[in-house]
Amino acid sequence: MRKLLLLLSFMTWSLSAAPSLDYQVQNLQGELVSLTEFKGKVVYLDFWASWCGPCRKSFPWMNAMHQKYQQQGLAIVAINLDEDKVLAEKFLTKLPADFHIRLDPEADVASKFDLQGMPSSYIFNRQGELVQTHLGFFEEKSAGYENEIVELLKE
């Protein structure tokens, strides 16, 4: 009985790896880089894909946020989950991004974050702690998202 409980708790513990910045992703040149390079800033991590409709809407907004708050220490990092890099590049030619683009084609990091849907965004404070998670992108809620960022930038 006790062995069973130990086994179950071990399984759940090892599999529920929490979202954090301690992961490596690819940059557009295909090199492995760590997300820890953004520590010290307020990080808005967004998982997107070329085929995702709401992602199309979120890009202009993320560009606007980058424009407004980059100086104050906001780092927007959009992690692409397309299996084929070409699809991401096509998307970016139509919707260019001023913010950071990273790639996670095998969805390793996405699995560790245990994404519940697309797109998903994770906001980390300057200490690198996860403070907010958003599922989907809704125009109506974007003002609310912005407020969260502003609050964290004040710290």
Partner: protein
């Protein structure tokens, strides 16, 4: 799939906003930026060989309000002309029938299936539906629809809720509708099983009129329908999804077709009189539907099966498939096949025997008799610039009514009482 998915129930975030059931997945790679408006229009021609012809035009407009609300509006106009089988049987003699209004009559040549060509009707139908995303896992919709034609009026309300589970891999939907129909037949609704008054049987117009009026009842009739559907949609794999629906429908009110009759024949199969049909005033129907749809590299394929059963003992099986193939990124061809088989309603009979007592209900409408139908269709679609799409569809639809076990007496054996009905469907659609 690993157990890890279970561990985050406590976080209570359970969906993808790229939802399963249709609305927001506008991920076509050709659109420059997402558009709030989506318009679909189509015009269709339906033509049966020697019988009914119809033209139908549909316009559908969808407007998104933000990312959580969607308004869907539809307008349909259709126009019907031509003749349809009245239910009377073919005879070796010429037959004369009185028109539903009582004004005038029409003849059927010997050996021909009696067809009533009185109907030239235009119908207008409008509907509006509002869909709302309430939360990451709940969606709801509500709608209203109405239609009007010369002798018919319909008004309905519908609503539904959807709940998604397991990262939007599973969606459960429950919907219901209530519809009220009012029928005001041309000439007034006929008295059930009354005998058709024929001008030739009377000396004067007044006597004929009096007899005709005896077969009529004043006022309109109505019919109320309550529908409910439970639906489960499940993602099977990266490319395949599946849906299963259970539907329950309860109809009460006037379901008799006021324009259909039955021939009452003697032992030699010769018609003695024509009686107006009579159907039950309630019907409880069940439907079971399953479908699967697959995303192929250069196309799409779907298969579906539906079984229906009701308390009229009309059971049916439907098998259907669509296979689309993309010849290029912009041009596709699609094949449509449908097989339908139905078992006659328990009160269906192709004719009545003059000597026998009248049953409680009877109808000779081949559309509720034993029947097998086949559809073969071909569609071509072209994606134009700016996300516009144009398509053309041509289908062949054949209905094969069958004798569900009635003995054909006398001269009835010399005629085809269950003729095939062949129809062509042609349609052009445009969406942007």
């Amino acid at each position: 799939m690993q157990l890890k998915n279970r561990s985050n129930i406590s976080k209570a975030l359970a969906i993808a906003s790229c939802s399963l059931l249709g609305h927001s997945a506008q991920a076509s790679a050709n659109t420059e930026k997402p558009d709030d408006w989506k318009v679909d229009a189509a015009i269709m021609y339906y033509g049966e060989e020697d019988r009914v012809q119809a033209v139908e035009a549909i316009g559908n407009v969808q407007k998104a309000f933000g990312d959580e609300s969607l308004l869907d509006m539809k307008l349909v106009v259709d126009s019907l002309t031509g003749a349809s089988a009245s239910g009377a049987v073919a005879q070796s003699e010429t037959q004369t029938f009185t028109r539903p209004s009582g004004n005038g009559q029409y003849e059927t040549a010997s050996g021909e299936t009696p067809l009533d060509d009185t109907f030239h009707d235009t119908r207008v139908q409008a509907s509006a539906n509002w869909a709302e995303t309430l939360s990451p896992v709940w969606k709801t919709n509500v709608g209203v629809n109405g239609s009007k034609e010369f002798d018919y009026f319909s008004l309905g309300l519908n609503g539904g809720v959807e709940r998604s589970f397991n990262k939007d891999n599973t969606t459960l939907a429950l919907s219901g509708a209530y519809t009220f129909d009012a029928i005001d037949p041309v000439g007034g609704r006929p008295v059930a099983f009354s005998s058709m008054a024929l001008r030739a049987d009377y000396d004067t117009e007044e006597e004929y009129r009096a007899a005709f009026d005896m077969t009529r009842m004043a006022g309109s009739e109505d019919k109320k329908t309550m529908d409910m559907m439970l639906s489960v949609t499940q993602v099977l794999s990266r490319r395949w999804l599946f849906q299963a629906n259970y539907g329950l429908s309860s109809v009460s009110g006037y379901m008799t077709d006021p324009y259909k009759i039955l021939s009452q024949v003697d032992d030699t199969g010769t018609t003695q009189s024509y009686l107006y049909e009579n159907r039950p005033d309630s019907r409880l129907k069940h439907s079971f539907y399953m479908m699967t749809k697959g995303a192929l590299d250069a196309g799409v394929i779907d298969f579906s099966y539906r079984y229906t059963t009701d308390d009229w003992d009309l059971n049916s099986h439907t098998l259907e498939t669509h296979y689309r193939y993309y010849f290029s990124g912009r041009f596709y061809g699609q094949v449509h096949l449908r097989y339908y088989q139905q078992q006659a309603a328990n009160f269906y009979r192709p004719f009545l025997m003059a000597g026998d007592p009248l049953p409680e209900y009877a109808s000779a409408d081949y559309r509720i008799g034993d029947m097998t139908t086949y559809t073969l269709g071909l569609k071509f679609g072209q994606r134009l610039s700016g996300g516009h799409e144009m398509s053309y569809r041509l289908e062949y639809y054949q209905q094969n009514p069958e004798n569900s076990g009635f003995d054909l007496v006398g001269q009835l054996q010399d005629h085809d009482l269950f003729p095939e009905v062949k129809a062509i469907i042609a349609q052009v659609s445009y969406s942007f």
